[in-house]
């Protein structure tokens, strides 16, 4: 509940309210009084506080405790969700902003400590996980960005090179390279694709989907096993509201968990419980450099939601946390956990077995179908809504897409659709062609062992 009081009362009897009220006001006065008198960090009670967490008066920390508190949240998220294990190679998505800067710093620190342990250990049994950094350069979508982007990239290079040892590979990839394999100029194709969209919000969202595809591409081509995003509480709160507003209530719970394995390379969000305000504070406390990139602020629906959440946050500092906590009570999907495989010491038969069942928690068939554009799970009961039937479609091909993408990204006119689809990057086209993407291949894997070779009777 949104109740800010630390005690809760389940009975309806009025007597309890009264006594509690008196008791609570007494203790609150005491605590407040003592803290103010001593002016000490609320955690270690020895140093002077330099900053506030979002709890306001009640969470004044000294620099070390503040940092440890934040790092602690990160570490707990990583451990509890098995996000990073020794043989992993993790790709940190870096945008230059404060959240990704803190993310990079924390991942580095974790790697650094692991390295020291490794160096100090005798048997060298636990290898250190690898870390790479990816920056997706979206300057081609933004006409006045070219000079600023050069400087930004330089800054990013120096940040990453300073975070060694252990050294980290940096990938600076223009977003249009998602179209790599085709002949026509990639920038042109991207421009054509974006121009085909009439809706501002649709454009912004499509770019976000392309960005994820870029990260996936870099990760899979370079042997990375995890993509790490710096999405913080504030970003996720905005996503909760904007997904609601776009009619994506069904798939919302898939996007806001710690782990998202519907992608080829699982995506993890270790900063999910860290508010942007605290991350900003940490950057200024620790002198962590933030790189300004010329991607403009959001407009359209995303911008509206952003300002709305800001207004709410001003009215009550814990509103973002409440929003994320509420959304956290929605039921996640089976792919919102780390698939249980990957150890190379495991025999291949076991691995195959795990691969078949890895994405499911209880052995039931995973039969989600996904939107071609945004990869969100489609609600089955309105199976007709996964077809483009909002406008009558004479075309024989159906494109599995969620209602939001159908409205704001896909063209309404079926004849335009014929021209539009080939503009999409390859992974989306593949998803569009095979409506139930996961279904056919995972089904086949399930029965792989029982299929006889060609020429014999097959199931």
């Amino acid at each position: 509940m949104a109740c800010n009081s630390s005690t809760c009362n389940s009975s309806g009897c009025y007597k309890e309210y009264e006594e509690e009220e008196q008791h609570k006001s007494k203790t609150r006065a005491e605590v407040k009084g003592s803290n103010i008198r001593q002016n000490l960090c609320v955690k270690c009670k020895s140093s002077e506080p330099v900053c506030c967490g979002i709890g306001g008066e009640d969470s004044r920390f000294c620099k070390d405790c503040f940092k440890n508190n934040l790092y602690g949240k990160f570490k707990q998220a990583v451990t509890y969700n098995a996000m990073i294990t020794p043989p992993d190679k993790v790709l940190v998505a870096f945008s230059g902003g404060p959240s990704s800067r803190v993310l990079l710093q924390f991942v580095h620190e974790m790697q650094y400590r692991a390295q020291k342990n490794y160096d100090a250990s005798k048997d060298k049994s636990l290898p250190v996980f690898g870390v790479g950094v990816a920056f997706i350069d979206e300057s081609s979508t933004n006409s006045f960005a070219s000079q600023q982007i050069e400087k930004a990239i330089e800054d990013i290079r120096s940040i990453v090179s300073n975070l060694a040892p252990p050294s980290k590979e940096l990938f600076v990839v223009p977003i249009e390279s998602i179209f790599s394999s085709d002949g026509i100029d990639c920038k042109e194709r991207l421009k054509k694709l974006l121009d085909a969209l009439g809706d501002v919000t649709g454009k912004e969202d499509l770019l976000i989907h392309l960005r994820m595809l870029s990260l996936q591409k870099i990760a899979s081509e370079n042997g990375y096993t995890r993509v790490v995003l710096g999405s913080c509480t504030s970003r996720i709160a905005c996503h909760v509201i904007s997904a609601t507003v776009k009619g994506q209530g069904y798939s919302l719970s898939a996007d806001i968990q710690f782990v998202d394995s519907r992608w080829e390379i699982p995506v993890v969000l270790p900063l999910r419980d860290c508010p942007a305000q605290e991350l900003n504070t940490l950057c200024s406390l620790d002198g962590l450099k933030i790189v300004e990139t010329p991607n403009g602020p959001f407009s359209g629906i995303n911008g509206l939601v952003s300002s709305f959440v800001k207004v709410l946050q001003e009215e009550n500092l814990s509103r973002e946390c409440t929003i994320v906590r509420t959304a956290g009570k929605l039921t996640p999907f089976h792919f919102n956990r780390i698939p249980e495989i990957q150890d190379s010491n495991v025999p291949s038969a076991t691995r195959r077995h795990h691969r078949r069942h890895g994405l499911k928690s209880n052995g039931s068939l995973s039969s989600e179908s996904f939107c071609a554009i945004c990869n969100s799970p489609l609600k089955k009961s309105n199976s007709s809504s996964s077809l483009t039937n909002e406008s009558p479609q004479p075309s024989n091909r159906f494109v599995a897409a969620c209602s939001s993408c159908q409205f704001q990204i896909l063209p309404k006119d079926p004849s335009l659709m014929e021209q539009f689809l080939p503009l999409l990057p390859h992974p989306m086209i593949t998803r569009a062609k095979h409506g139930d993407r996961g279904n056919v291949s995972s089904l086949r894997e399930q029965i792989q062992d029982f299929l006889l070779s060609d020429g014999d009777d097959e199931i």
């Binding site: 509940m1 949104a2 109740c3 800010n4 009081s5 005690t7 809760c8 009362n9 389940s10 009975s11 309806g12 009897c13 009025y14 309210y17 009264e18 509690e20 009220e21 919000t201 909760v240 509201i241 997904a243 609601t244 507003v245 776009k246 009619g247 994506q248 209530g249 069904y250 919302l252 719970s253 359209g300 629906i301 509206l304 709305f308 207004v311 709410l312 009215e315 009550n316 509103r319 409440t322 929003i323 906590r325 509420t326 959304a327 009570k329 929605l330 039921t331 609600k379 209602s403 939001s404 409205f407």
Partner: protein, 356 residues
Amino acid sequence: MEADTKSKKPGARLCCACNQRRAALKRPKTLEQICRECFYAVFEEEIHQVILENKLFKHGERIAIGASGGKDSTVLAYVLSELNRRHNYGLDLFLLSVDEGITGYRDDSLETVKRNELQYGLPLKIVSYKDLYGWTMDEIVKMIGLKNNCTFCGVFRRQALDRGAALLKVDKVATGHNADDIAETVLLNILRGDIARLSRCTSIITGEDGPIPRCKPFKYTYEKEIFSTYAYFKKLDYFSTECIYSPNAYRGFAREFIKDLERIRPRAILDIIKSGEDFRIATSTKMPEQGTCERCGYISSQKWCKACVLLEGLNRGLPKLGIGRNQGLNSDAKKDVKEDGRTKSIESKQCGSLEF
């Protein structure tokens, strides 16, 4: 409304539905150009379809329409009696009004309802807070101030409606909650962490397992369509002032946002409702256990129903009683009766986010 509703344009557009008459307005829901007659027709037909598809009424039922005199309930009364006649629903319709005792507001709007009684030929029953609880809202506000008054009003009104419905011996209560209201409620419940309410608030019928179920025929109807088009064009008699005690309601945030949203993308209101219906919420979180209040016998999930708790507070001079720290759910969903469109009552009076 759009500026070009009534202006004469050279080469004026034709109605997109009949292609004969000149388009008089742009439909807020779809932005289509449409003439008045076709607009009335499609407006009424959509509501008729909602009633059919969701099986809101059965032939021969007695239905009380929660009537405040505001635009939503006035239009609801008008449309329901029209459709009842036109499509032979066979319903016995009544107007049920609640008098909270707010001078300069409720007494005026009640006059409107009394006029509606004559205009539509629907029998009217008025229940008042004074009779039921011994307190008017004016007296309550004098005692508790302007912070949590919407809580009291909402809780009391809910029970008042049920008691009035029982007196009228009706089978169902229909309220004028429109799409904007429900969208606001979905957002509010997200903002305030009320996952249980979130799972129920988009239902078009609620309280089916209780004494008197309620339904919202206007669930998919835009407030703008009710207000500046239907009521305006048909010159229906309604009352349109904001409740004088409401300016601080938290619902105002959500309302502002939705108004801005509607400007950019009108269908977003229905999308919010769709999201609300689609949220994956475990059924175990849905219903609190339902018992009865020890003091008054009304349905309650606690020992005392919320109204009794609040009343106790008032009578003992403890204005904060029942406000602010109740974690448990109280009675079942306390949905507001739709008063006039401007009442910004707090949907959930339980739990302490009344921190303004």
